[in-house]
């Protein structure tokens, strides 16, 4: 491959990376709070709310993400819900990842001892105050490792939008490979994914170090 050609390939793939990163970032920013709300709903004493959340998590974890993407993209328009491509992909990603995050948050919240709730209660704190000030900040420390795992999975799962004909990193790579009969773009794509997950791993390490400033 000529130098020019290689440069051109890399530029195209950087554009694909941008799409990948967009999906990744927006999904993460929306799925984390959604997952927390779902977790709070799941542990709620209101039975209908907690049952609804359990059902939601069951559906999202029990079916393939690929199927969910296809459903949002192809089936929803049939009932009159037509979303722009990127929004459709995001909807599926956010709903799916929020369900996984919800389970992680729920386990994290339930790992906090009852004594913390009791101490907060005897100090006059309300349930929302207790969750916001006492329980959730401690929960974050416990859930960082599994959240880090899921987040790295998300980087790789973004490649599924390839089936929706969106030009993310993987699709760009494949297009070039098919046109040029050269496997280099696959190698470059692999390096790009590794670079992204490397940055994430580093960032989560920093976060974990930050939250390790106190002993339990």
């Amino acid at each position: 491959m000529l130098m020019d050609n290689l440069l051109h390939t890399i530029v195209l793939m950087l554009e694909g990376t941008q799409v990948t990163l967009e999906i990744f970032c927006i999904t993460l920013v929306l799925a984390l709070p959604t997952g927390l709300l779902a977790a709070l709903g799941r542990i709620s004493s209101l039975k209908p709310v907690s049952l609804l959340m359990e059902f939601y998590v069951w559906i999202m974890r029990g079916t393939p993400l690929m199927l969910q993407l296809l459903f949002v993209y192809f089936a929803l328009p049939l009932v009159g819900i037509k979303l722009p491509d990127i929004a459709a992909a995001l909807l599926a990603f956010v709903l799916n990842y929020a369900a996984y995050f919800a389970e992680i948050f729920r386990a994290g919240i339930q790992s906090i001892s009852r004594g913390q709730y009791e101490a907060a209660k005897t100090l006059g704190m309300t349930y929302p105050q207790t969750m916001r000030r006492i329980i959730i900040p401690q929960m974050i420390r416990h859930v960082l490792p599994p959240i880090s795992n899921e987040t790295i999975n998300l980087v790789k799962d973004t490649s599924l939008i390839y089936i929706l004909a969106m030009n993310d990193l993987l699709r760009v790579a494949r297009t070039i490979v098919q046109r040029e009969f050269d496997m280099t773009p696959f190698v470059i794509a692999g390096v790009f994914y590794l670079a992204m997950t490397f940055v994430l791993t580093w960032a989560f390490k920093k976060l974990e170090a930050h939250y390790a400033k106190y002993d339990e």
């Binding site: 913390q116 009791e118 401690q138 400033k213 002993d215």
Partner: protein, 259 residues
């Protein structure tokens, strides 16, 4: 205790019944605590003494009976003889004059000692942190832990943590302090510093209800001792009387074992 009738009454418990499923843990408890009283509750494990204490501030809910705190009804029986609590908001307000210290300290591990003390006054009473801080510093000096104000609880010994927990409860300026076996989770050499802090509090006429295994504390710092077994109050009295001349057989057997 002597003074049952008037505005001196801090806490009044009448006909308290509580069950966990099949097991009846409180079988009709009656007593009162007057302002400045230090009541020590002793008894074997499983006697219901901790449950009784936790019923006072609604960490457990009773099935029947009346609880009044500073003359305000927290819970009383309805026409069917079933305990009925006041609203959540009113309950919170009534209980705002109580503070509690736990066996396991239950400090907030993600906050420094100072943040632990500021948390409730700032979040619950909505007071500015800068106004609360000098009071919190004063409390920390009192329990001898001012130098530790920027430490996280995990870095402190059990005895130090428990003293911080006492200071944290005091930061809300309670009128009555509840202690649930405050020294039971501590190594023997660390109980002394916690008991000293509690003695000082008693000397300042803080109203205290203390569930404890520390007979020396009950004898010296309390002005009333109550012995519970199997969900009832077996015997009670002034400590000098109680320890010198116990009447009930179970009390005598228990005290013999403890000494």
């Amino acid at each position: 205790m002597q003074n049952m009738m008037n505005d001196n009454s801090m806490l009044r418990m009448r006909g308290i019944h509580k069950r966990f499923g099949e097991l009846e843990v409180l079988k009709g408890i009656d007593f009162s605590v007057a302002k400045g009283d230090v009541l020590a509750i002793i008894g074997p494990s499983g006697s219901g003494k901790s449950t009784m204490l936790r019923c006072i501030n609604r960490l457990e809910e009773i099935d029947a009976g009346t609880i009044e705190i500073k003359g305000r009804v927290l819970v009383q029986n309805n026409a069917d003889g079933v305990a009925e609590y006041v609203s959540e908001v009113e309950s919170r307000e009534i209980l705002s004059c109580t503070g509690m210290v736990f066996q396991q300290f239950n400090l907030f591990p993600h906050m420094t000692v100072m943040q632990n003390l500021l948390e409730a006054p700032v979040q619950v009473k909505k007071r500015p942190a800068e106004e609360v801080r000098p009071e919190a510093e004063e409390l920390l000096r009192k329990v001898g832990l001012f130098e530790k104000r920027d430490c996280y609880p995990g870095r402190l010994s059990g005895g130090q943590q428990q003293r911080v927990a006492i200071a944290r409860a005091l930061a809300m300026k309670p009128d009555i302090m509840l202690f649930d076996e405050p020294t039971s989770a501590l190594d023997p050499e660390l109980t002394g510093e916690v008991l000293k802090t509690m003695r000082e509090l008693a000397a300042e006429h803080m109203t205290m209800v203390v569930v404890t295994h520390e007979m020396a504390f009950a004898r010296e710092a309390a002005n009333h001792v109550m012995f519970m077994a199997d969900g009832v109050i077996v015997e009670q009295g002034r400590p000098e009387e109680f320890f010198a001349h116990p009447v009930q057989e179970r009390t005598i057997a228990f005290l013999k074992n403890m000494l």
